[in-house]
Subunit: 166 residues, 2 copies
């Protein structure tokens, strides 16, 4: 873009996404729900987050509209809630697949990935691709150009920053 | 998959990706470098992380092989380093675009996104899509099926968990 340094980051969509998703454990909770793990005790065992923290993260995801609570009752137990993805939560799937695939390519052990994802209909493995509205596939970020969008805001006139400790 | 609860999450690629990317500010640093912001002072101004924290995050990204340092010298100043993406860092582009687009859809102000991404060659806007190796586009996570991969590990035989505080 013209000069990226002239623009404010206040309404950056990545910044906003991370303000919802960036807390420790949150993405792992979503991974679990995408994998069909919906109950607190199961997540607690798999994720290893302290109970209070896990409970806070789940509450936040409900408040933000990514998960909803659905009551269930096992025989002889009190009623509990399980967690299901809303439309807003389901819509994060491409981001989670992209992180998974990056991990598969760069951080995997010799024996290969622990999970593979397949198209239900044909069984072929799935991946994310970056494409433009004309259908061209982009090989890398170098084929893309960021531009100020309709909500772009110029930064306030620069004030001399004082480095910490000076 | 058979029963997701039978499998270990120790070598989950999402978990591993987040162990590199999940610290506060790290993804914003990468966003900036993808946007051509390469210098410490510019990142500091845009991201607002404390200098020591930003410095630590940059060091970690270099250690993990996502960024590399390239020396530069402005007239009359001492030599400094700027930060550029390695192949491993560039390969995160689909994940960042996916987060951006999710933020665009769900968290944006009335005036629209602050940045739009375009294919350099044709100018059309870009997005991420989830597709299988046969070329079918998946409309949602419901069209996908996770399966134990070659590195899948069964969890050790379950030990009764003791809830905290009991």
């Amino acid at each position: 873009m013209a000069n990226v340094l002239d623009y404010s980051t206040d309404n950056c969509s990545i910044g906003r996404a991370l303000s919802v998703l960036g807390e420790k454990w949150t993405m792992l909770v979503l991974r679990d729900v995408f994998n069909g793990v919906r109950r607190f005790e199961d997540m607690h065992e798999r994720i290893g987050a302290p109970r209070q923290v896990l409970s806070h993260r789940l509450g936040r995801l409900v408040d933000e509209g990514l998960l909803r609570r659905v009551p269930y009752r096992e025989q002889g137990q009190r009623q509990r809630n399980e967690y299901r993805l809303t439309e807003k939560g389901l819509d994060l799937y491409p981001a989670l697949v992209a992180l998974l695939r990056w991990g598969d390519r760069w951080l995997v052990d010799m024996d290969g990935p622990s999970v593979t994802l397949h198209h239900k209909d044909c069984g072929a493995q799935i991946d994310v691709t970056v494409r433009c509205a004309e259908g061209h596939e982009l090989a890398s970020a170098r084929d893309a150009r960021p531009q100020p969008g309709p909500g772009a805001r110029l930064r306030p006139v620069a004030v001399a920053d004082t480095p910490a400790g000076s």
